[in-house]
């Protein structure tokens, strides 16, 4: 069963990555990032059971905490940007370049 879980995790991760690369709405990009994090968590939990060790679950727990903090700050940034530029597109924020 471990293999199945891990492949599911990898698929979700890849889907999230493709979403990050193709979507332009910053919020959706953020959701895709969350999806990737969740995929990782699934792998952690799977391995925890595979090796009979609770530490994988602990790590997954910490990932959730960090993800929560990240979402809070990230969404605040998106709101701030939207407030000044009237846009939530990641492509519009491209002044930092050559």
């Amino acid at each position: 069963m471990t293999t199945h879980y891990l492949i599911l995790s990898g698929l979700l991760f890849a889907i999230g990555a493709i979403g990050v690369l193709t979507r332009r709405n910053a919020i959706v990009v953020f959701m895709c990032v969350e999806l990737m994090l969740n995929a990782c968590n699934l792998a952690f939990v799977t391995f925890a059971r595979q090796v009979g060790n609770l530490e994988g679950q602990i790590i997954a727990f910490f990932v959730m905490v960090v993800a929560a903090a990240e979402v809070v700050v990230g969404l605040a940034i998106i709101v701030t940007i939207f407030r000044t530029r009237r846009s939530a597109s990641v492509d519009d924020v491209n002044l930092l370049k050559y």
């Binding site: 698929l11 999806l35 939990v45 903090a69």
Partner: protein, 252 residues
Amino acid sequence: MGETITFWVLAVISVGAALGMVFNRKAVYSALMLGTVMLCLAVLYAVQEAPFLAAVQIIVYTGAVMMLFLFVLMLVGVDSSDSLVETLRGQRFWAAIAGLGFAALIVLAVGNAVFSTQAGLAAATAQGGYIRSIALLLFTKYVFAFEITSALLITAALGAMVLAHREREEKKVTQKEQSRARFLGDRPSPLPGPGTYARNNAIDMPALLPDGSVAESSVNRYIARYDVERGLLPEDPKLAEAIKHRAEEESK
């Protein structure tokens, strides 16, 4: 056997939902799809002897984080949907290549790996049960990281407040000033309510004044515009005229 069935059902649902999230134009739908994936994952956690994580997943992710997403979507505008035209040349093609390639590599790696039979968490949770074991790890071995996460959360909360805060640039208008402005303006009295003298009591029906004329200001401008846009105008030409007029006022 039960686990296998559960897995396959949930796997199909979660992959489908994930794809839906990526390919849906509307951000709100994407958020709901993500919620679906998260719930599926919560069940899978529970199946994999991680009930605590399953609970946290539902409470923190599906409950808090997703609500936050939706909340921000409301702020930014629910209606807005992405354009499907890709502006960066080759981005989609290479994203597909890289993403699928990565997935293929993962599948290849995991497929090639030979796993022994699952150890299960029975041994790890033998002393005092599952929740006790988790707590034991969290508050002994990982207590330092745990405390640091509290600092992280406080910092994040502070950062969010700082980022979202907007400095008031003009003086706050007091009630006294508002009242004075009202009495100095055209209409000291409140606006007439809609539908008061109407044949049907609806908020998009303008009120009729005692002399039978239509009170345009009794209809909310946004509602008037909504009616015009959806073609929901009343049959009475006088009323329709008033609503159209009101909508034009709004669009000015």
